[in-house]
Amino acid sequence: MGLEICCNKKKHMSEIAVNIKELNEKIQKESSFVDMVTLEMKKVIIGQKHLVDSLLIGLLSDGHILLEGVPGLAKTLAIKTLAQTIDAKFSRIQFTPDLLPADLIGTMIYSQKNEEFQVKKGPIFANFVLADEVNRSPAKVQSALLEAMQEKQVTIGAETFELPKPFLVLATQNPIEQEGTYPLPEAQVDRFMLKVVINYPTKDEERLIIRENLGKQFPAATTILKSEDIINARNVVKEVYMDEKIEQYILDIVFATRYPAEYKLGQYSNMIRYGGSPRASIYLAAAAKAYAFIKRRGYVIPEDVRAVCHDVLRHRIGLTYEAEAENITSEDIITDILNNVEVP
């Protein structure tokens, strides 16, 4: 009798867990490259774990990233290393005040030999594009980049060209030099899935950085992935299970940025000029799924949402003058929202 119960239990257990188990197994298999990529990146990038995770989230959920940090924090090196680990084309564009859209997307050049105009594709035709100091160029160049990010295609002359897949833009901004810059308008910032703020490394990390840089040979990452692997992984990420309780949690967080008083955050009512758009909800869900994938899980838990929440929302909350006068930042507001919205 006892044996029968035991067998039934095992059978039952195997039946009930089948969906999640299958999904978990699939994710374990498909996400094995995550550890490899992380290891390769760690060879080159010391510390900056959050940056590496964010790059992977952007890569896996097909979202572009805006990086903000003072110069010298390995922003460029990180994206370059990520491109190295994947067999993908990388290009770096330094945004300057005299940059023109044609310098970015390409132009038609007259060929005297063929006596016709030929398309000269710009540096945007790459899998990984680093738009360095994106706020140094005027609005027309920023618009050209952001349009390409959104449409995933570029029109030169009368011809439209698809951008390669995967296509990931990493734009950087320097938070300390604001003179002579063209801050990205809210509508355009919203198109970045994540805004990642990079901080200084720790003392130990910096010690290692010194040693590596002054060593005889600077380490290099090895190519371990193909572009197709990323596209396959993106499809698996979409399969990660998100329960309606998590969806509700995401909605509560985003709605709290719009109507703080309804979430016992009345003190922010006159400090938030505008809250997160529906794009915020979409990206928060997508980023949470990608984060769960990185953590080798087939389902999203509240921890995943909280882990990506700051990066997804910090550039989507507009502050009023009152907030600026009182030194309230969007970071403070997001933290308070997370501390006030009930976790399912």
């Binding site: 239990k9 039952h12 257990m13 009930i16 867990a17 969906n19 999640i20 299970y241 329960d243 309780k245 998590i246 087939g298 389902y299 999203v300 838990i301 509240p302 921890e303 909280r306 997370l338 501390n339 006030n340 919205v341 009930e342 976790v343 399912p344």
Partner: protein, 315 residues
Amino acid sequence: MILFSADVIGQLVSVQAQLDSNTIVIGDQIGLKIEVKKNRGDIIKFPAFGDHLTEEIEIIDKTAIDSVWLKDEDKVLLKQQLLITVFDSGLYYIPPIEFILVSGNTADTIRSRSNYLEVLPFALDTTNTIRDIKAIEKAPVGFTEIYPYVLAALFAGILVWVLLYYLKKKKNNEPILGRLKIEEPAHIIAMRELEALKAGKLWQRKEVKRYYSILTEIIRRYIERRFKILAMEQTTDEILTELVGTGLVKPEDLKVLKETLEQADLVKFAKADPLPDENETHYENACKFVNNTKFREDFIQVKDLNEPVSNEVTI
């Protein structure tokens, strides 16, 4: 005392102007009663009296014209009372008072009889010696004068009472407004809710997800009340980390809690469907956690008596 009789003008209208007295002392006030008896339908226009009746006679007050229907005579009696005074001695002539009578298509002027008023000076008492001028008399103090002070005293009294009330409440650690609400201990609430959950038989009715949602909510609310941790707004990992930080929960209780919360997460977010005995086990885990961590005086004492509570819990 009637000193003047009335005139009779015409056949149907009579006018009277009577003084209450013909003799007064300087400054005294005296009434002049004016009465006009007229037929119904006739119109009598009274003179418009100003401040003076004559140059010397002042009108202090006057009543409105009152009308009375005299049923027996079928007439209307109009009455007005003037209050007059004079501030000089002598004999004063009160001229006839003129009224305009409008009867049908005709109008006529009718007059009362003239009167005399004698105003006498004060009699001097020559028998007594000359006395000094009287001192200024103090007016009696009225409510108008004292009410600001009354209000101030009342306000000060209320203020003192409020202050004493506040200090008393603070001293007794009672709420300022309302009565002291005795809060139920967190574990009593939690155990009652757990009992209700059991009675609900949710997982037996295949409502496993709801069962675990309520179970974790009870545990989290208990943690919130018992340890003052914002457990409702925290994830499983965060709750466990904070509980370790309190140093009030034993490692074996943390382990039990961790198992239950993680199982609940799987049910809530990953469609897991545990076995019936697992549901029972996690229910018992919850009860055990509440019972083992409930607030006890002796628990604190044990802790104070250098009974170390290990923080080295792997979560």
